[in-house]
């Protein structure tokens, strides 16, 4: 992000930090596209193909170094997500807002996540990204929040943003929110 911003935050004395987040969500929701956008342009991988297993990526936002575990969302690999819950500081849950058909599947996965012993009871911030907002039949973030019953999450900070990973629209706000949360929780 902008150099000016970095200088500014240094000036205000925000400590340099590294955090680890895990990116999950159904396959084809746009996780890998999102990380690649968050990375510096020079490192960007030329093309994005469905992830097998996981990819570890790094990016920096303000003065915070992010390590992102970009997991594969395919059904047969989802059971592997939980292996990476324990030591993460935050979760990015990406939803394809145009995929109405599988909204229920995504919801199911969310509840499995929330019940997992390594997640339940921890004050982990969860950033929901309602991606592919550019697609015509996309649901609004509010609709998705309702469909997921996000109100019921009381023990964790969460927020939902609509994004378009092709243009980057909405991403900045989302990551900014997450960074703020992480600065509060991670000592």
């Amino acid at each position: 992000m902008s150099n000016f911003f970095n200088k500014l935050s240094n000036f205000f004395g925000i400590k340099k930090k590294s955090v680890k987040v895990i990116m999950i969500g159904l396959n084809n929701s746009g996780k890998s596209t999102i990380v690649s956008l968050l990375k510096n342009d020079s490192e960007k991988s030329p093309e994005i193909i469905p992830t097998i297993g996981l990819n570890v990526e790094h990016f920096k936002y303000q003065n915070v170094f992010f390590t992102a575990f970009d997991m594969s969302g395919q059904g047969r690999y989802r059971y592997l997500w939980e292996r990476y819950y324990r030591n993460c500081d935050g979760i990015i849950f990406v939803v394809d807002s145009s995929d109405r058909l599988r909204l229920a599947v995504a919801k199911e996965e969310l509840y499995l996540l929330l019940q997992h012993p390594d997640v339940a009871g921890r004050k982990l911030p969860i950033l929901f990204l309602a991606n592919k907002m550019d697609v015509r039949e996309a649901l609004s973030s509010v609709k998705i929040a309702t469909a997921f019953g996000l109100d019921r999450i009381k023990d964790k900070p969460w927020h939902i943003f609509s994004t378009n990973a092709l243009t980057g629209e909405g991403l900045q706000e989302g990551v900014e929110w997450l960074t703020e949360q992480l600065c509060q929780t991670v000592a």
């Binding site: 097998i52 996981l54 570890v56 690999y77």
Partner: protein
């Protein structure tokens, strides 16, 4: 003492990993989960894990999986050293851990990324976690990597492809164009690896290999390694060309031209190839031997070693050629490199005259204690060859061997000495007594159970036939007192042999066996009781059939036959005679032949399942054939019914049952533009035979081999069973696209193809039966029916040749080593034991004599309980 040394090593900075403990190392591996990753902490821990795994430490699947996932977290760090350790960790753990595909994307990223340090290693790790289905998803990257400009990357991709082809050969086959391109690489390593892959992809397609070799031999490859490989492929092709004529072959010319290559590696490879080719004449290898001779005086020890080792190997096949290097070899006797010296001396021993033996043996004795077991075995093998060549020298050689036997040495070394002594004893009657004495002395202090057991068995077999059998009893009984249970059991069996064959000793043996019945071990007691009760009975028939010649059924077949019996016909009496016999131990003809360096017998693991057993399982699985009664009696070796380079190739294997014979035709289609369907063999069966089942092969694509079967019932009269059937291959052809193998249309046309006749021979119906005391068996056989006839074996010019052809024609086992002809004798008698299908015993005695007329005269006497079988044998011989 040991503790002290450990301390000292620690001070010296010895192995810091010596006292690693798996549990605590795996505990430490949890550090990998922490953020941020600290490479300086994690790299040593990962090193320790790798060390443990390489030391053979076993990890359970759960432990391995947990560690594996901890390792995957290290991808967070961009420390290059750590990342390369991560690749190694992945490769090791991928063998045991689950869900290893989790790192697929991470590795793919590294493989295609910008960091060159990562790319090659990432490819290797990727291939170790990939299975056949996954391979498709990374196929594109593999193809790119094979032709990558970075040689390390291309090589890694090529070698990994070679490994992958074991699990997904069809996918790897599609990379042939990339491999072809890589053969043109400027990097010597890439070129070599590319040729390796290319050959591997094509190796089952002879025509393609021939084309490949023809093209590359003209191209002059840059990489000496690739040229070496090409030489090996060329040799393989030459050996497969059955003609055995190298004269006009461009392949042979190519290898010969490589003798003038600028790389020494290539020159050596070519020379070694030429001398090792099976049919080269002495004149053809002369240039190669000159090259080796030159290498013998090279200042480089590696070259001298390679040259002398090769000469040593071919000393027996090309003695005259090797003799021409004698002066150079003499110079190497005092080479400071003991391995070179040993090989030089043993080569000279093999080719030298009898007069040189003593001098050379003295030379060896001066440093034999300094060389490793491996080379001591080379010495032993040379001595073995010498004993066969100069029987009169057995005194010197045997003393030398027994001195070696008393020295320190591992099992393989000791076994090779014992093998040599045993073959000396068996082959040379004059050496028997002194050889047995050496062995008796050796087992007094022998720490190798398996060797002691073998020697005891030999003493039981040979001891009773010596002049003074009683002298061996003490040595054997000492084993009963002093050794472990396995040796004690063997000693009990050996004792019983003396009781069975030496009436004078029976009384004493019974006393000893009675004592053995108090042994603490079940097996020892059981044996003692068994032998005691048979011997006490003094029934000659029982003693002969259950001690001297115990039943020789194949134990695993017996187990199968019993299971089958219980499942199918438990109410009937079990027929022991239907159980296949255990195959006789490796035939001595093969062992004793003075060819190139022999493998020590002990190293040759016997195959776990016999040919018959695996064939039996396969046949039982075919519904049309599974009803055939009785266990499989004998399977022949495959015999080719076509010339070697024809369009269609057929090999027949004959599986003989009690009343049936199943012909298995393995058909190969080499036509890349044809798909064959409904492939079957048509037989013109001769009188008495009846076809009872047929299993065609429905589909045979190019370069595939598949079987079709015909089952026949044997004629009732044995003398009709030995015959020929005319055979024709019949099938429907569909023309197809050579690239894809897909037929152009659904219509096919019928074709047939003449095959050579299928012969059913006597040997197919006969199993070898080892009679260790033929005299006793022959006497037993007096109650059988007997037939006798005289023949003139024309076209056979020596007694050895006559023995060989009678043995193989009859398919019976020579007893009492009667297949060995004493040199310079004009007559010889062979004793043969066999079992005809259905479990009928057959004994035969063939008296052979060289007459005045050309050929060998033979008087053959056959005894068997079944007169028809006597008649069959008498009528088919000749």
């Amino acid at each position: 003492m040991a503790i002290k040394r450990d301390k000292k090593e620690e001070e010296d900075g010895g192995n810091p990993f010596q006292s690693l403990d798996k549990t605590s190392v795996l505990q430490d591996a949890r550090t990998f989960n922490e953020t941020p990753v600290e490479p300086r902490k994690c790299t040593p821990i990962l090193t320790k894990i790798l060390y443990l795994l390489n030391q053979g430490e076993q990890l359970g699947p759960a432990e391995a999986t947990e560690t594996f996932f901890a390792v995957t977290k290290l991808f967070q760090s961009n420390n290059t050293l750590l990342r390369r350790m991560v690749y190694l960790g992945i490769k090791e753990l991928s063998l045991i851990a689950q869900d290893v595909i989790i790192v697929t994307s991470s590795l793919t990223k590294d493989m295609t990324g910008k960091e060159d340090l990562y790319r090659a290693a990432a490819i290797r790790a990727l291939c170790s976690i990939t299975d056949a289905t996954m391979l498709q998803t990374i196929e594109r990257y593999m193809k790119q990597a094979i032709v990558d400009r970075n040689p390390a990357v291309a090589s890694a991709a090529l070698v990994s492809s070679l490994h992958m082809s074991r699990i997904a050969s069809d996918v790897v086959k599609r990379w042939v164009n990339e491999a072809q391109e890589a053969v043109n690489s400027d990097s010597i390593m890439v070129q070599y690896h590319a040729l390796g892959l290319l050959f591997h992809i094509r190796k089952n397609d002879r025509l393609a290999v021939t084309k490949l070799v023809a093209k590359l031999t003209r191209m002059s490859l840059k990489s000496p390694f690739a040229v070496c490989m090409l030489i090996r492929i060329a040799c393989k092709l030459l050996e497969e060309e059955s003609s055995g004529e190298y004269a006009d072959s461009p392949l042979f010319d190519f290898i010969e031209a490589c003798l003038r290559h600028k790389s020494e590696t290539v020159v050596y490879e070519a020379a070694a190839a030429l001398v090792n080719l099976r049919h080269t004449t002495t004149r053809q290898i002369t240039p190669a031997v000159s090259v080796l001779q030159l290498f013998c005086s090279s200042p480089k020890p590696a070259l001298r070693f390679a040259a002398v080792r090769t000469l040593n190997k071919v000393a027996m096949t090309h003695p005259t050629a090797v003799t021409s290097c004698n002066i150079d070899l003499e110079n190497l006797i005092t080479d400071s490199n003991r391995s070179i010296a040993t090989l030089a001396i043993t080569t000279l021993l093999k080719t030298g005259a009898e007069s040189a033996v003593d001098r050379l043996m003295k030379q060896i004795a001066s440093f034999v204690s300094e060389i490793s077991d491996e080379f001591k075995i080379v010495v032993v093998q040379a001595i073995r060859a010498l004993c066969l060549k100069f029987p009169r020298k057995h005194g010197t050689l045997m003393t030398f061997l027994s001195a070696m036997l008393r020295d320190e040495g591992g099992l393989e070394y000791k076994a090779s000495i014992a093998d040599t002594l045993i073959s000396l004893i068996e082959g040379n009657p004059e050496a028997k007594e002194s050889g047995l004495a050496h062995l008796c002395e050796f087992i007094e202090d022998c720490e190798h159970t398996s060797l002691a057991v073998r020697i005891l068995h030999l003493l039981g077999k040979e001891g009773p036939k010596t002049k003074q059998p009683s002298r061996y009893i003490r040595f054997i009984y000492n084993r009963v007192i002093l050794e472990n249970a396995v040796v004690r059991a063997a000693a009990v069996s050996a004792l019983s042999q003396f009781g069975a064959q030496c009436p004078d000793l029976l009384e004493n043996i019974l006393v000893l066996l009675a004592r053995c019945q108090m042994d603490t071990d079940d097996e020892v007691r059981d044996r003692a009781t068994y032998y005691f009760s048979i011997l006490q009975n003094q029934d000659r028939h029982l003693i002969n059939n259950y001690i001297v010649e115990p039943p020789q059924v194949c134990v695993s077949s017996l187990e199968k036959a019993l299971m089958l019996h219980l499942m199918e016909t438990p109410e009937e009496v079990f027929d022991l005679s239907s159980v296949p016999l255990a195959p006789p131990p490796l035939s001595d003809e093969v062992q004793a032949a003075p060819t190139v360096v022999q493998e020590p017998l002990a190293a040759l693991g016997r195959p776990a399942v016999s040919k018959e057993e695996s064939a039996s399982d396969r046949l039982r699985a075919i519904p049309e054939l599974s009803w055939i009664q009785g266990p499989l009696f004998k399977s022949s070796d495959p015999i080719s019914l076509t010339e070697s380079e024809t369009e269609y190739q057929v090999r027949v294997t004959k599986h003989v049952f009690k009343n049936h014979i199943v012909l298995q035709f393995d058909c190969t289609n080499t036509m890349s533009d044809q798909l064959l369907e409904k492939v079957r063999v048509q037989l013109e069966v001769s009188e008495g035979y009846q076809i009872v089942a047929e299993v065609p092969c429905q589909r045979l694509a190019c370069s595939e081999t598949s079987p079709t079967y015909i089952a026949l019932q044997f004629p009732d009269a044995p003398n009709l069973t030995v015959t020929n059937f005319a055979a024709t291959l019949r099938f429907v052809v569909k023309d197809c696209d050579p690239m894809t193998g897909i037929p152009n249309s659904d219509d096919g046309y019928e074709e047939d193809y003449m095959l050579e006749d299928v012969e059913v021979m006597l040997a197919d119906q006969m199993q070898r039966l080892t009679k260790s005391n033929f005299g006793a068996a022959w006497e037993e056989g007096e109650s059988y029916s007997e037939l006798e006839d005289t023949y003139n074996l024309s076209g056979i010019n020596s007694l050895e040749e006559a023995v060989r052809s009678v043995v193989s024609f009859m398919g019976m086992q020579p007893a009492d080593r009667s297949d060995r002809v004493q040199p310079d004798k004009s007559s010889h008698t062979v004793y043969l034991g066999g079992m005809f299908r259905g479990g009928v015993e057959v004994l035969a005695r063939a008296k052979l004599a060289m007459g005045n007329s050309p050929g060998v005269a033979m008087q053959l006497t056959v005894r068997s309980p079944n007169p028809d079988i006597c008649e069959l044998i008498i009528s088919v011989v000749g």
